[in-house]
């Protein structure tokens, strides 16, 4: 446990010091929220979902913030590899599982903090959280998204030599995951042939879970959401731990 805490602590210290990263990764979901939200609010009709597009969009942007920050945090171990710091950790008498779990929790924590900032800012543009329980439910889903995608990032980073593949992963894996998740539009409004794809996207269940917590309405049953994203977090952690174990320096 103390080793997991040590790795987590290092992640937190680095996070607090990287002001530009904090602001940088808030800005994108925030701009999406402002431009898409205000721009489309009057034209978009959402029957059965409260009708207000901005309020619909907020959970999606919170999830987006968590998603991008966590993938990035996981992939960061490539830098540790390149700058040599990973060696220092791997040659210590500790198990790789502990290192990987510490890294995952560190990444998930920063991701949830980033999502939380979007959540707080959203209050100023119309978010009314239905209840404290609802807030905790949303937070729980943010944590699960954070763990899933940090572990996912670690799994990818374990197989990558340098950052050259990073853009590829972002464009062809992470962005589709985000786009298909129903963060920007109700999944029911998609053509019948795409709809199954959204249900294959694990983030869909995260977004719907957060949406249920924050607005009380969701298109997927929240228990099912919890089961799917919870299961996905577990699978990703196991996969990440497995691949991290096999890293060679």
């Amino acid at each position: 446990m103390d080793i997991i805490y040590t790795i987590w602590l290092r992640n937190m210290k680095r996070y607090v010091r990287s002001k530009s990263r904090i602001i940088g990764s808030i800005s994108m979901p925030l701009f999406f929220l402002l431009f898409l939200g205000f721009g489309l609010n009057s034209v978009v009709q959402l029957p059965g979902l409260g009708g207000n597009y901005i309020v619909f969009l907020i959970p999606g942007m919170v999830a987006m913030s968590v998603l991008f920050t966590s993938v990035f945090s996981g992939i960061q171990i490539i830098w540790d590899k390149q700058f040599g710091f990973l060696k220092e950790t791997l040659v210590a008498p500790v198990s790789r599982l502990e290192i990987m779990l510490g890294q995952t929790l560190g990444g998930a924590t920063t991701a949830v903090l980033q999502g939380f900032m979007i959540l707080v800012l959203s209050v100023f543009i119309g978010l009314r959280i239905s209840s404290p329980t609802g807030f905790l439910i949303a937070l729980g889903f943010m944590v699960l998204i954070g763990i899933s995608f940090t572990a996912f990032g670690i799994a990818i980073a374990s197989r990558m030599e340098d950052m050259t593949g990073f853009q590829l992963i972002m464009n062809f894996v992470v962005f589709p995951i985000f786009g298909l998740s129903g963060a920007l539009f109700p999944i029911s409004s998609l053509p019948a042939w795409i709809a199954p794809l959204t249900l294959l996207d694990p983030l869909t269940y995260g977004v719907e879970g957060i949406r249920f917590g924050l607005t009380g309405v969701s298109q997927v049953n929240p228990v099912a959401c919890f089961a799917v994203i919870g299961g996905f977090a577990l699978v990703m952690t196991v996969l990440g731990a497995f691949l991290f174990r096999k890293i060679k320096l």
């Binding site: 040599g84 060696k87 220092e88």
Partner: protein, 328 residues
Amino acid sequence: MAVAIKISNLTKKFGDLVAVDNISFDIEQGEIFGLLGPNGAGKTTTLSMLSTMLRPTSGFATINGIDIEKDEDGVRKSIGIVFQDQSLDEELTAWENMDFHGRLYRIPADIRKQRITELLNLVELEDRKDDIVKTFSGGMRRRLEIARGLLHHPSVLFLDEPTLGLDPQTRNHLWQYIATLAKEKGITIILTTHYMDEADRLCNRIAIIDHGKIIALDSPKNLKDGIGGDVVTIKSPDPEAIVAVLTEPWITRVERHLDEVNISLQNAEQHISTIVTLLNTHRVPIESIAIHKPTLEDVFLSFTGKTIREEEADHKMNMRMYQRMVRH
């Protein structure tokens, strides 16, 4: 003296490439032991195996009697490592880098704090302890890494090219630290280097390693004495003629290397005029002539027929060819 490290028939292959070829030797406790050789000779691979970062293909090694393959954590607890490439977290302060290490090695908080202060003082970084490592110079980083490597009180310290890329002044400074460490703390130190003067000045014993094999192992003094006295280097457009002419009995060794001939003999100063006269009588042209006390460079040259720099150039070419083969 007790044996700190025992290496027996240790071998590491990467595909067809034999990086470390069946090496065996013992290192005694409290010794500063040097692995000297050109880049790519197998020094770092040997260290990686000893520090459990890499599994040997065959053979075995023990550190303080602990088998490197059977008890990785046991070995890891008793060794400290300063890697060839920097391995600090640049975003953290010197203190935080030390603290991270101390926590990883599960050193209790109070002892950790006390040791960090003590070690930062030792490497003269105490006044910079709260500065972010990014602001440190190369020498300061190296010193911090050495301090960090000592934090968990290892009985064996590995230093992989500890002074690579440092200016001569900093290098001198670091050598003093390392020598003091070995003397005062009784730590066994194994360092790899391709600087001959570094090995010569610091090490009690040196293993010269080339193409994965140990080609010589002794104290620097014995190695240099083995050359057979002083070295006279004569440069000439016709080096073969020099070899043919210089057959005097007081010459212990004549070796041609490119357009130079290296001659070993006792009391070179007394014989130099005789040599020049001999060459003149036989009309052998001389471009330049130099006398020096034997260095490890001469030792390396006499064992391999090449200077360490040429070996490195060869190695680079081999690696390039190897990479090309792999790519196709």
